[in-house]
């Protein structure tokens, strides 16, 4: 059997499964950036399904064992693409893979595209970086500490800046070459007001995962407000992010943040936006940590723990803005939930953790790119 026919057979088997085809598309997209391995020098036969369904019909405990071994063997990208591959082989493999893979909150790893909308781990942040392309007005989020030398970095999300008469829009997509709002790769948008002082993050699905794919992103995830620091002339600006999709209870003892488990389905029906949080639930507000004035260095300082190396007004750390009535532990209040800062020309690091998701973190960081001189 020729190599090409093996690959074609595998693809046919994958695409032939109706409801799985979208997942298949997602995994193809995510596999796009992985490099092929060097072929070893002994002749190998691949896992060709000579009779369709044979490998799909393995006893469940067997499938669980094999796919668990695969999942445990590759925890970082780009090699982790193999787990997404397992989820796209066929229905039974997909079911087992979804059973094995836990959320980023539980294991600290990103696996499927939906991981980008799930809260990060509680104990330590997921570390990413953003590359800005001024010519195309695009911003790409990658997983990893810093750009790798061989440029084999795993793309998580991409954003394109579009200037309108009344403000700026950023369209957030799962791929870097498609920013169409009607495409199933569009996951949300960020909209600013004219002055660049107020931003709103929209998601194309509700926090609990409900919602349908439409070409309008209707669910308000967060509103971000930038203010001049009037008390200290020429001091750093103040940021407040009201997370409409995350209740304050998420950071209280025993609390949880909404965790969608799948992307919305594509349905051609009229859609009415549903409220994000129920009326009486108080949303979590994040504020930027106030830097200290360093008398000797004559500048404002924040401890970025080595993850930010270039001074910039865009750099910030977000912590929870709570008062004693909220009953949030001191340890939780201290936690830096989102950290963003410059490390080089057009390269920025972004570290986020629970209760934020990669999507929310990325869009909050994007707002930092768009604030106008009125704020500086």
């Amino acid at each position: 059997m020729s190599f090409k026919s093996i690959v074609r057979e595998l693809k046919e088997m994958r695409d032939g499964i109706g409801s799985i085809s979208r997942r298949g598309v997602d995994s193809r997209r995510w596999n796009g950036r992985t490099k092929s391995h060097v072929a070893p020098d002994i002749t190998l036969t691949s896992l060709e399904p000579i009779e369709q369904g044979k490998w799909a019909n393995l006893p469940p405990e067997l499938l669980l064992d094999i796919i668990s071994r695969v999942e445990e063997s590759e925890t970082t990208w780009p090699a982790r693409a193999v787990v997404v591959y397992c989820g796209s082989v066929c229905k039974s493999w997909r079911a087992v893979t979804k059973e094995i893979v836990t959320t980023p909150e539980q294991c600290g790893r990103l696996t499927f595209p939906i991981s980008l909308k799930q809260p990060g781990p509680r104990d330590s942040p997921i570390q990413c970086f953003i590359r800005r392309n001024r010519e195309t007005s695009t911003y790409i989020l990658y997983i990893g500490l810093v750009p790798s030398e061989n440029e084999n970095d795993k793309l998580l999300l991409a954003a394109k800046k579009i200037r309108r008469a009344t403000g700026t829009d950023f369209i957030i997509s799962l791929v870097a070459n498609d920013f169409s709002r009607s495409s199933n790769t569009c996951v949300g948008k960020l909209r600013s007001n004219f002055l660049g002082t107020k931003f709103t993050i929209y998601d194309n699905q509700a926090p609990n995962g409900a919602g349908i794919q439409t070409d309008t992103c209707n669910h308000v995830v967060s509103t971000i407000a930038y203010e001049l620091n009037v008390l200290r002339a020429r001091g750093p600006r103040r940021m407040h992010c009201t997370m409409n999709s995350i209740p304050v209870s998420a950071i209280q003892e025993g609390g949880n943040a909404p965790t969608p488990t799948s992307f919305p389905q594509i349905i051609d029906e009229p859609f009415s936006p549903s409220p994000t949080l129920k009326g009486k639930t108080e949303p979590l507000v994040l504020k930027n940590k106030a830097p200290r004035w360093h008398e000797q260095l004559q500048c404002w300082c924040l401890n970025f723990k080595g993850r930010v190396t270039v001074a910039s007004v865009k750099n910030f750390q977000l912590v929870a803005a709570v008062d004693p009535s909220h009953n949030v532990s001191a340890a939780e209040q201290e936690k830096v939930i989102l950290q963003f800062g410059k490390i080089g020309k057009d390269i920025f690091t972004m570290d986020y953790r629970y209760p934020l998701s990669a999507f929310q973190a990325f869009t909050i960081c994007l707002s930092s790119f768009d604030t106008k001189p009125a704020c500086e």
Binding site: T45, S46, L47, L58, L62
Partner: protein, 144 residues
């Protein structure tokens, strides 16, 4: 330890109707088969049936079991061979590596049957080798 020629042989009937005569020592390497034999302990001419395993696959498994029992190496949980320095180390390592290479040569269907059969027969070491090879091929395919 090589089974002596005078050791008891058990008749094992496979899914294709063929009956293989297998040394009792090798049969006992599989808890599943051992159990089937014990159920028939009163009978004079014991024949156990494996309706889901073909003679081709069973012969392969028997072959591997022989290699395994003959070598002095011990396998830890990860399936990595740890060899006693004083024993016939090079030969044992060769036989283990040969086993691994054997798996790499199998076509997809044979690998599938081997993994399913050794899982059913509860032959840990060979099942593990099969899984390792299956995982390796999945990673190969994902990379393409």
């Amino acid at each position: 330890m090589m089974a002596s020629s005078s050791s008891k042989k058990i008749s094992v009937k496979c899914s294709d109707g063929m009956v293989l005569e297998v040394d009792e020592t090798l049969v006992n390497a599989s808890p599943t088969m051992k159990c089937l034999v014990e159920e028939k302990c009163g009978e004079s001419n014991i024949v156990i049936t494996l309706p889901n395993i073909s003679s081709k696959i069973l012969s392969k498994i028997i072959e591997f079991l022989k290699v395994d029992l003959e070598s002095d190496a011990t396998f830890n949980d990860v399936g990595v061979q740890s060899v006693d320095v004083d024993s016939k180390a090079p030969e044992s390592l060769t036989s283990f590596n040969n086993l691994k290479l054997e798996f790499i040569k199998f076509d997809a269907n044979t690998l599938l049957y081997l993994v399913t059969a050794t899982h059913y027969l509860k032959i840990e070491k060979i099942y593990h080798l099969g899984c390792v090879e299956a995982v390796r091929r999945i990673r190969e395919n994902a990379a393409k």
